[in-house]
């Protein structure tokens, strides 16, 4: 069962057409990895999936609800679609616990105590139990990103979107974030991951799509894409990044 259905999605910024007709289904429980050169539109595609970017044309369905329809309650839908950003985007004026509880309190209307418990459990899960009172500025990049993942998970989303979650990290911190994501994948979370970590893509992805110039050029299993890419553009991209 497809939880996300994208049909003929186009996105223009002024004259620049960043997405030129994307068709894509994401199945429940699937880990979909999106790769491609920078400027290929993969981040824009991801940002359209929760309507942070408004499509110029086409439709996006989430659990049968058309997100591009005028009267769709986007905040409600976004509760079910977690997102992790390249630049973490933690709230700097709130400590780690408050970062996680804010939406629980304001959106879900949860009680303070209950929300804190959710936060503590998730912080334990991402290995940051000792940082409950720290402020984002006191954390390393890897720690911040793990808090950001915990913050998104707190809403109990049905899908998690990852927009190059390790690209802004120092190399020694990439591992800790990927390991949290690996655990999530193992638990069967539906994930759409835009990444440059090819090893991780091979290991965690159920399916890989390769994008270039606003189109999906090739899709398949990690095996097929990485070992026997059919499209010459995929091949040349992979040789460039895998050396």
């Amino acid at each position: 069962m497809a939880i996300i259905k994208v049909r003929n999605l186009k996105k223009r910024f002024g004259k620049l057409e960043v997405l030129r007709g994307i068709n894509l289904d994401v199945a429940e429980g699937e880990q979909l990895v999106v790769i491609g050169p920078s400027g290929s539109g993969k981040s824009t595609l991801l940002r359209c999936l929760n309507m942070l970017e408004e499509p110029s044309e086409g439709t996006i369905e989430f659990e049968g609800i058309d997100l591009t329809a005028k009267n769709t309650d986007l905040p409600k839908v976004r509760e079910s679609i977690g997102m992790v950003f390249q630049s973490f985007n933690l709230f700097p004026h709130k400590n780690v616990t408050e970062n996680i509880t804010l939406a629980l309190l304001k959106v879900k209307g949860m009680k303070q105590e209950e929300a804190k418990n959710v936060a503590y459990n998730l912080l334990e899960k991402v290995g940051l139990s000792d940082k409950v009172n720290a402020y984002p500025s006191q954390l390393s990049g890897g720690q911040q990103q793990r808090v950001a993942i915990a913050r998104a998970l707190a809403m109990q989303p049905k899908v998690m979107l990852f927009d190059e979650p390790t690209s802004a990290l120092d190399p020694e911190m990439v591992g800790e974030v990927l390991s949290v994501m690996r655990d999530l994948a193992r638990e069967g979370m539906t994930m759409v991951i835009v990444t440059h970590e090819m090893k991780f893509a091979q290991e965690v992805g159920d399916r890989v799509i390769f994008m270039d110039e606003g189109l999906i050029v090739e899709e398949g299993t990690p095996e097929q894409i990485f070992k026997e890419p059919r499209n010459p553009r995929t091949r040349s991209f992979l040789t460039r990044v895998m050396q």
Partner: protein, 237 residues
């Protein structure tokens, strides 16, 4: 010198009036400014246009003229409004006078003036918050309103403290223009004293000194608040 010491209570009195009108004006102005500042960033074109008109008009015209419009101009409008209601609808009778007391006119003019400058401070403060903050909040299912209220404004407020302090200092000095409608604040007080004892140099120097004491204290206070809020770092430890 002796004359100054003897008249010191008058200066203190004038300074307190100046401070009072400034606090009230910037207080009301901050409220107007928040609304107008948010209005400038609204998705609604009409709201945006209204807010822009307000800010442009006030910032593009002298405060002295604005004071005259309120103090001399409004009573005429009120008077004609009364006449209109009386002749057209037989309403009334209204009170004879349409005069606006200098204190009220001062508060209206200065608040409206301050509001426009504060609006720009708020707008700039809100726009200085990284786009990612809004996106993160929205992605968690928060409404645009909740996002502004709980994520954007609390961060913007911290950045707004220093320019708001500057606005306060500017307004404190600008209230001296209220002498023109006979409102007895510090400058007007100096004028009155000078008319009585004719010592212009020591008197106006003392007036200046009083302004200086107030402006310097306020900028110290702003510095202190800034540090307390952790404007530069982010966490309050």
């Amino acid at each position: 010198m002796e004359a100054i010491i003897r008249t010191l209570p008058f200066f203190i009195n004038g300074a307190l009036e100046t401070l009072k009108i400034t606090v009230i004006a910037v207080g009301i102005g901050s409220f107007l400014g928040l609304i107008a500042g948010l209005g400038r960033l609204s998705r609604n074109r009409l709201i945006r246009a209204l807010a822009t008109c307000y800010v442009d008009f006030v910032r593009g015209t002298p405060l002295l003229v604005q004071i005259f419009i309120v103090y001399f101009g409004f009573p005429q409008v009120i008077q004609e409004g009364k006449t209109f209601l009386q002749t057209q609808f037989g309403l009334g009778p209204f009170s004879e006078t349409s005069h606006i007391p200098a204190f009220i006119a001062a508060i209206i003019a200065c608040s409206v003036n301050s509001g426009a400058y504060v609006a720009e401070i708020f707008r700039a403060g809100i726009q200085s918050i990284e786009k990612g903050q809004r996106e993160a909040a929205l992605s968690l299912g928060m409404t645009p309103r909740q996002t502004t209220l709980y994520v954007i404004l609390p961060q913007a407020f911290r950045r707004i403290v220093p320019p708001l302090g500057n606005e306060f200092i500017a307004m404190l000095k600008d209230t001296s223009l209220l002498f023109s409608i006979g409102f007895v604040e510090l400058t007007r007080q100096g004028q009155l004293l000078n008319a009585a004892i004719f010592q212009p140099f020591p008197i106006y120097l003392t007036v200046a000194l009083f302004y200086l004491i107030m402006t310097l204290s306020i900028s110290r206070l702003v510095d202190f608040t800034e540090r307390r809020l952790g404007v530069r770092g982010h966490h309050q430890s």
